[in-house]
């Protein structure tokens, strides 16, 4: 029940106004206002007030620790809140990723913003709505069952003139309620906002230059910093010649803390020139493995532990008794996140406190990591999220924030650190390599009776902690020594009902580059490996790849999504490879893939159609058909955009992307040395959404990426009868595979 003892605190009255006033007042005054007003706002995950505040003007503030990384969740979360509260969509203000105001709902990762963050908001809203209706019941003297809510007004069904608005009902009070897990949520049949393609709230400002990205934030008295990274990952700084930059107008300070070297200047251009011109002497270091030996190094890395992800029947014996066996080795390259806007942050250290503006996907984690590095309490740190360029996992934003914090502490003024392109490509954490070996056995009828797989992937330390920040490791400052590539074991177990199956992940002690998660971490690589190898078994059995999958797939929802993709693609039922004129210079083929994301949620299936130029080795992905079932859809256009993005980005990763290095450092440091897909290479994308309004909403930000590489691999095999087992499928690799087969 509501309690009316305490007066609502200032922040509720003001925070809505702050949001409205943000573009007028500028970020600094807004942020200071938030800091000042934030003293007592609840942020606990079980409090309604952590998520919601009814503002006297009739708007509703919704607070979320999840942040919109460019996926449109800022609109979808508003839809969920507006729907559940029965207030107009336009009256929802959303406050994202502010450690003083928003509950810690975990990092924005794993396709969990809607599935977890949205469901938490929905339940808080359902609790609030129930309480408001009970208040109205008393005030209007009518049982709750005789009342209805429309546009934020509770009224008697029989006499709509007897009514009270939410703000009239809650007056000047907080809810003081625990989120009630049993508070009934609305019947999806009555939805008017959820399930609709509501246009994104941020797009008009983003196409007119009115939006303030992280990179656009400016605060009074701010200086510009640039970090000078070592020429080799493990190099030690022996000396710095400050006179080499003393002539640069506007240079404020050269900062050296251990191996952390940086410049701070009055203008951005002066900082860039100083960082480029600064002469320093570093020790030589050549500790990286030979790039050509990567997968041998992976195979020889000490194993921390073996993790068995499926063990059914007796795969080893079944393999020994199989009528036919197939084995293969798969490799997947190291990738970089490649945000179009390099990482950026502003930090302001003053009076023992730190304010940070960051595009981090995990503001609450960033706060803890900064506290460890600086030796101050997390409560002395306020992290405020602002949109960066698309974030596809833990990139350099946290590192830039740590850089800025150190520099601000050194110069006593706010410092903005903007990473250059070579910083981003060279120093953001990488998606680690995957090596896998598979063995499969067929019985005399061509059914899979044995499946054995081994994956070599780095171990994970504490999944609840962030990736060590460069400023701390280079500067010799405290950090939690952690290796965290994300949940990369997931989808190592195949989603099929094989009678004998065994999958093991050899979790390695180390990996060549500081790892982190990149979109669909592990789930992408593991699904690729499983679905391409399954295609090898289908070919060995002389079976159509779809029929072969359906033979072993017992999940009804999975069968439905696979059939939907196949039907939409007008699948040509026959075994692969296609019998075509081998002399044709350009071969065409189709490949299929299915995935149940993490083996527990969103179902996806794809059919890819490719052209392969035999002579040049060039693959063109012409069309990708996707069927997608993420349960209840909040915003169908948002889901479509995510599917499209996943397809394009993963076609790029599959055909082109591969981190390169020498023994000292990363050498793919820009878009020429790390090319990504361009407009003329983008396939046509055709999508079928399966909506299940009565089921829980699941994520859509990642699952489609999981099915793209194998769909391409399988289509190439269909076209030319050659199996590609190492991503990326560069023309050189394709030509080599063709030669090896001949």
């Amino acid at each position: 029940m509501l309690t009316h003892q305490s007066t609502r605190r200032d922040f509720i009255k003001t925070s809505g106004a702050l949001i409205v006033g943000f573009s007028l007042a500028g970020p600094m005054s807004a942020a200071r206002g938030q800091t000042a007003g934030a003293g007592g706002k609840p942020v606990a995950l079980d409090e309604v007030d952590s998520f919601l505040a009814i503002v006297p003007d009739g708007t509703v503030n919704v607070y979320t620790g999840k942040v919109d990384l460019g996926t449109g969740t800022r609109t979808a979360l508003r839809q969920i809140a507006a729907e559940e509260l029965d207030v107009p969509f336009e009256r929802i203000n959303l406050v994202e990723g502010d450690t003083a105001l928003t509950p810690d709902q975990g990092p924005t990762w794993g396709s969990l913003t809607i599935q977890v963050g949205g469901v938490q908001i929905r339940q808080a809203a359902a609790t609030a709505r129930k309480a408001l209706v009970e208040l109205a019941s008393k005030r209007l003297g009518a049982p709750a069952s005789d009342l209805e809510v429309k546009y934020g007004v509770v009224r008697a069904k029989a006499d709509p003139t007897r009514s009270a608005s939410y703000s009239e009902l809650i007056g000047d009070q907080e809810f003081h309620l625990k989120v009630d897990k049993s508070a009934r949520v609305k019947d999806p049949a009555s939805y008017t906002i959820v399930g609709k393609p509501v246009p994104r709230v941020d797009i008009p400002a983003k196409v007119t230059g009115e939006w303030t990205y992280m990179q656009d934030v400016r605060v009074p008295g701010m200086l510009h910093g640039r970090v000078v990274r070592p020429p080799a990952l493990g190099a030690q700084l022996s000396s710095v010649d400050e006179s080499s930059v003393s002539g640069i107008k506007g240079l404020v300070k050269v900062v050296r803390i251990g191996n952390f070297l940086a410049v701070v200047a009055e203008t951005e251009w002066a900082a860039i020139k100083a960082a480029e011109g600064l002469k320093a002497t570093w020790s030589p270091w050549e500790g990286l493995p030979d790039m050509d030996q990567l997968y041998q190094v992976v195979r020889q890395t000490p194993v921390a532990k073996d993790e068995v992800t499926v063990n059914v029947g007796d795969a080893k014996s079944a393999l020994a008794s199989a009528a036919k066996t197939v084995s293969a080795t798969y490799e997947f390259a190291i990738h970089t996140h490649g945000s179009i806007g390099p990482s950026c942050a502003i930090a302001d250290v003053r009076d023992g406190k730190l304010t940070v503006w960051s595009a981090s996907q995990a503001p609450h984690w960033l706060r803890r990591d900064l506290a460890t590095m600086l030796g101050i309490s997390p409560s002395a740190i306020h992290v405020i999220y602002r949109d960066g360029a698309g974030c596809y996992g833990r990139n350099g934003h946290e590192d830039a924030a740590a850089d800025a914090a150190l520099l601000s502490r050194e110069v006593g003024r706010p410092v903005r650190v903007q990473w250059m392109r070579h910083d981003e490509h060279g120093w953001d954490p990488k998606g680690p390599p995957t090596l896998a070996e598979l063995r499969g056995g067929l019985d005399a009828s061509g059914n899979v009776i044995a499946w054995q797989s081994e994956f070599w992937i780095p171990k994970v330390g504490a999944i609840t902690e962030g990736v060590p920040m460069l400023a701390a490791t280079l500067g010799g400052l405290p950090y939690k020594d952690n290796i965290n590539p994300g949940n990369i074991f997931q989808n190592s177990a195949p989603p099929y009902a094989f009678p004998n199956a065994h999958a093991v992940c050899h979790r390695l002690e180390t990996t060549p580059f500081r790892p982190s998660w990149i979109r669909t971490p592990g789930r992408l690589q593991n699904t690729y490996v499983n679905e391409a190898f399954l295609d090898e078994l289908a070919a060995a059995a002389g079976a159509d790849p779809v029929e072969f999958r359906l033979r072993h797939l017992k999940d009804l929802r999975g069968i439905e999504v696979l059939q939907a993709a196949v039907r939409r693609a007008k699948w040509d039922t026959r075994p692969s490879p296609k019998k075509s004129a081998a002399s044709s210079p350009v071969a065409t083929g189709r490949g299929v893939t299915y995935c149940k994301y993490e083996n527990v949620r969103t179902y996806v299936a794809a059919v890819a159609e490719v052209e392969v130029e035999r002579r040049s080795g060039v693959i063109r992905v012409k069309r990708v058909v996707v069927a997608h079932d993420c349960g209840q859809i909040i915003n169908p256009d948002g889901v479509r955009a995510q599917i499209e993005g996943n397809v394009v980005q993963t076609v790029s990763r599959t055909l082109k992307e591969e981190l390169k290095w020498n023994r000292s450092r990363v050498t793919s440091v820009d878009w020429v040395t790390y090319p990504i897909l361009t407009f003329p290479e983008v396939p046509e994308i055709d999508i079928e959404l399966i909506n299940r309004p009565n089921d829980p909403p699941w994520g859509a930000g990642e699952p489609t990426a999981a099915i793209v590489p194998s769909a391409i691999s399988n289509a190439v095999f269909d076209a030319i009868g050659v199996r590609l087992r190492t991503v990326p499928y560069t023309p050189e690799r394709v030509k080599a595979a063709i030669r090896a087969q001949a």
Partner: protein, 155 residues
């Protein structure tokens, strides 16, 4: 001192003449349209129009813009009064993170001014030097086509 004409407004600024135009637009004039993406003229996020031509402001010294007309994303329209290209991008919801979109719209503007009804292939070829990491490409192409139609109708 350097005098620049940006979005039809003449301004005299105290900046080093070798400063790339991008930093003058963003830091001195506080414009948010042009973005820093690579500083190498490889990605297109910084694109502005210089006398109607789409150029990479990250590698163009400000001195080269003197005496010419600089147009940024802000110079096309606003959310209250969007240019047909901006309107088309909104209608097609052709934004994910939106960081590259400045370059897409400015490059498309120069294309449509030169060729009001380009084919899909011409649009893709023209935008081939503009990188998008979110995978918004199909919507961006649709938005440019829609803009061409809107502009043909005089919208």
């Amino acid at each position: 001192m350097i005098t620049l004409v940006v979005n039809d407004k003449s301004q005299t600024l105290d900046v080093d003449p070798d400063t790339p135009l991008l930093y003058v637009l963003r830091d001195t004039l506080a414009l948010h349209g042009p973005k820093f993406g690579c500083g190498l003229a490889q990605c297109g996020a910084c694109t502005v129009l210089l006398d109607g031509n789409a150029i990479r402001s990250c590698t163009t010294p400000v001195s080269r813009a003197v005496g010419k007309k600089v147009t940024t994303l802000e110079g096309l329209g606003s959310s209250h009064k969007p240019h047909p290209l901006q309107k088309a991008f909104i209608e097609e919801q052709a934004v994910q993170c939106g960081y590259c979109i400045n370059g897409m719209i400015m490059t498309a503007k120069a294309l449509l001014d030169r060729k009001p009804n380009p084919s899909e292939r011409e649009i893709k070829q023209t935008l081939a030097g503009n990188l998008c990491r979110c995978g918004t490409h199909p919507r961006i192409v649709r938005a440019v086509r829609r803009a061409a139609a809107l502009m043909a109708k005089g919208a």
